[in-house]
Subunit: 348 residues, 2 copies
DNA sequence: TGTTCGGATCGAAACGTTTCGATAAATTTC
DNA sequence: GAAATTTATCGAAACGTTTCGATCCGAACA
């Protein structure tokens, strides 16, 4: 029955108070840097605390504070388990930032099709979080159920209504990609994308079109814009066939993301089309891994950790009750937009 | 200043007790299914609880229970962020199992080279976990520091001294792979691996050798066993060059894992060697993603979620203080060994 | 010189549970 | 039919903090 962790007993605030010859409340004030405590007392308490190896018990702190110290991080299971380390790195960013705020991050996945009675994360059932971060496209019912429960909420790499969100500056990134291709002399630049109802991907398409327009290029001979499917390698491989069936073959393709671009790369290779000689390819996300076989992919780099960090910051300010401010980034109403960078490699 | 989550106030055990006309302690007993409570009272309390939408506050429960309800899940940052969804799926398994035990899983990463004063996870500093799960190869100082703190601990896909661990049955898997190649008529089967000091990979090498021996095959013409490097695609690509420089080229290669096998596949292709016609290849882990370009990889499938589930079960029993028992799996002393399965695809 | 104010410290209530021991009624045992 | 046991319920202490006054003291103010 004895707990395996039993030992010489963990010291409490009481022990510190007694040994330092002060009241419990004074120790509390010192530990939290609140109120007025003389320097002398403060250092004495701190010393005793260190000496006794005192660390406040979180459960005890949270009780009167009426907060949990937890924040929930939710994404779709299929997104989390997918090959490219995209969401994992976003999570890493939130985790990193959470440290500064003394928060724990509880990572949970939900299925693609969300049913509240079956899949509501435990930390929500128990109301054991102070706020929630949602990464990627998830069922809108889920998002609304959280917002409806009045739990502070920040979306990452997704948008829905006017819920606070931290997103990639997709439009800017797409323009970067197009400008690059234009500078390489391309005049017929195709687009390839699936799941184009996704707000982020839609923005990339818009940026692409603006880029074409800015360069005074006419309509490209080919624009593959599918609303269906997942924007992954398989879809990219299949859809890209259409590019080679177009009336006139474009000299360059801008893809909605790297996974699709990888599919295109392989389809091109299987048709004997050389990249970048016959066809230049640019992706988006910067998640393609090293590969000696394919040409390395020119892409728009997304700072995934930064997305997570900013979202965590934003959420924290939401929880504190005052409006967040990001002087360094465009912030229109409730949206924080994070800039991207073009990474030029072999495929263009 | 008003909390954004403020509302009509969350109901407490007190509210339920009053409305049901019983003592607080009785409600507690009902909610936890403890002690002796009449059926009548029990259902009445349960009804009231549901009616008031009562959910016990975890912080309040944990205080007198002297437990945290959290378990820590630790892996190396570079492992977590790596392309193949190996560790993420292990995590998913633990998370799934944790539900049944009412536990939260706190995922944190540590760097490859661990320094206790810099990288000790917050949940350890605050002693805010009841147990710890460690996935993959991590700094042994870290492992020992946890064990030294007398915190229950289970390793996953790694072994160190006699710490409890849930591991892949690497030897069995490797034998499966070799038997398969033998059955295909191969008599000269090479091995390719890096980071071979890793206990799991070492076991795969052993299984491979036993397999060769069982088939009464002589020494293979080539065994690439590097102790250095990470067992990844790049290493696989480089090391595999040695295979083609061997005195006699083997007809098949068993790789320490899929990443290395992918590297080998590309190296072979770049040298104009056809797979599987000229060379059969088998990997391990089953993490290679769909790829229209390379032949799909024959591999030894590892049930990653199951590894996580079993580890969580094991840890839970450790925390409860009684020895774990797994009738279905081989369990030598403190090791739980999970069987694998051979998945035959195009590369062999 | 009395009054006000701010710094320093303390005591006690409160946070929402679990659990131990007490009590009482109902049932079994001898 | 008394004693012992089992079932059902309750009250109160305990868990380890935070925080809200209250108190005290010395300094600035009028």
């Amino acid at each position: 029955m004895a707990s395996p962790t039993s030992g010489p007993k963990r010291s409490t605030i009481k022990d510190v108070a007694k040994k330092a010859g002060v009241a419990i409340s004074t120790v509390s004030l010192v530990m939290n840097g609140k109120g007025f405590v003389s320097n002398e007392t403060s250092t004495r308490v701190l010393n005793v605390a260190k000496q006794l190896n005192y660390v406040p018990r979180q459960a005890a702190r949270k009780l009167p504070m009426q907060s949990t110290g937890n924040i929930g991080f939710v994404l779709r299971a299929d997104h989390f388990a997918r090959s490219e380390p995209f969401y994992t790195r976003i999570f890493l960013g939130t985790e990193f930032e959470a440290h500064f705020h003394g928060l724990y991050v509880l990572l949970t996945t939900i299925p693609q099709k969300f049913d509240a009675s079956l899949h509501t994360p435990r930390f929500l059932q128990e109301r054991n979080v102070d706020g929630v971060l949602i990464a990627g496209k998830v069922d809108s019912d889920f998002i609304e159920s959280i917002a409806g429960a009045r739990i502070p909420l920040v979306l990452i790499d997704y948008q829905l209504k006017d819920h606070p969100a931290v997103v990639i500056d997709n439009q800017q990134g797409a323009k970067l990609a197009v400008e690059h291709l234009v500078s390489k002399g391309h005049e017929d630049i195709a687009f390839l994308g699936a799941d184009m109802l996704h707000p982020s991907l839609k923005e990339r398409l818009e940026g692409y079109r603006i880029g074409l327009n800015d360069a005074r290029l006419g309509k490209p001979s080919c624009e593959i814009v599918s609303d269906q499917g997942e924007p992954d390698y398989g879809t990219g491989f299949e859809l890209s066939q259409q590019i080679f069936e177009c009336s006139k073959r474009p000299t360059a393709v801008f893809c909605a993301n790297d996974s699709i671009a990888m599919g295109l790369l392989d389809q091109a290779a299987s048709q004997g089309i050389r990249v970048p000689e016959d066809l230049a390819v640019v992706g988006f996300d910067d998640v393609a891994r090293e590969d000696h076989f394919r040409p390395s992919l020119t892409t728009v780099r997304v700072y995934k950790e930064q997305l997570g960090e900013l979202a965590m910051k934003y959420l924290n300010e939401l929880m504190a009750g005052f409006p967040a401010t990001y002087p360094n980034f465009e912030r229109r109403s409730h949206i924080v937009r994070v800039p991207t960078e073009l990474i030029i490699r072999e495929s263009s």
